[in-house]
Symmetry: C2
Subunit: 163 residues, 2 copies
Amino acid sequence: MNQDDLTAAIRKAKDAREAGKDNADISEAIAEALKLIDRSKVCFVGTNGEEGFPNIKAMFSLKHDGMKKFWFSTNTSSRRVQQVRKDNRTCIYYVDENNFHGLMLVGRIEVLQDMKSRRLLWTEGSEVYYPLGIEDPDYSVLCFTASRARYYHNLKNVTFTIE
Amino acid sequence: MNQDDLTAAIRKAKDAREAGKDNADISEAIAEALKLIDRSKVCFVGTNGEEGFPNIKAMFSLKHDGMKKFWFSTNTSSRRVQQVRKDNRTCIYYVDENNFHGLMLVGRIEVLQDMKSRRLLWTEGSEVYYPLGIEDPDYSVLCFTASRARYYHNLKNVTFTIE
């Protein structure tokens, strides 16, 4: 990053500290976190990869139900699917780089291939990724269910459980 | 994400496939990956968190030496430092959301507190995060050393080792 970006970041952190905003409560954090999810194109999915190393991949944030369930589209043949079949402990992360918000949700992922799940995310043009169409065996839907959340903003982390 | 973003993503993927660009070679991938690192303000750091769940956090991408070493500034009291002291297996991830590039580097992180490392990242305004100044015991430098890379672009993953 360049010095201007860093200076801007430091200025915002200083303003937040001076405004006494480092005591955000949980209900405010939840409202902000939901807005962050809604305006994000992508989120970052963390999995347990080979040899005990964590792995990260950006995925399109296609559909979610509040902060509890999130659905992603992926190739069945992908490394991601192999990994979560072995170990479904995952996290997803949303970020607003300009305002320094970050939301991490920890939970578990299921790999789905039933028609109802396939239809949920299928859209015009999806054949680019799955040439055989909606029933392409290489088309899978990942469903992430969150159990815990950590929201960072104004130099402060707020942690809460997801019911 | 909204339908317009998704349509744009599908169009780019289609264009890439039609242009036969899904066979990027390693040297091209390395050059593109370095450019991606250089223009990124933040990267995403993946660690092994509590109860075997991966964790992700956005961090400022402050300084790097090619694709081998990366330095980050953090609070010694942070959860991140506790985690990497227990298990230093980590990954870092850079993304260009608009052009669908992603770079994941897998490696190990060291927690440094010597003066040379502290000086490397200290800048005007750093006191906002570390009020006691450059010798603040709550100021640590994380040094990540990469061993393997995976670069995604034009619907294709390219994997290589980092010497």
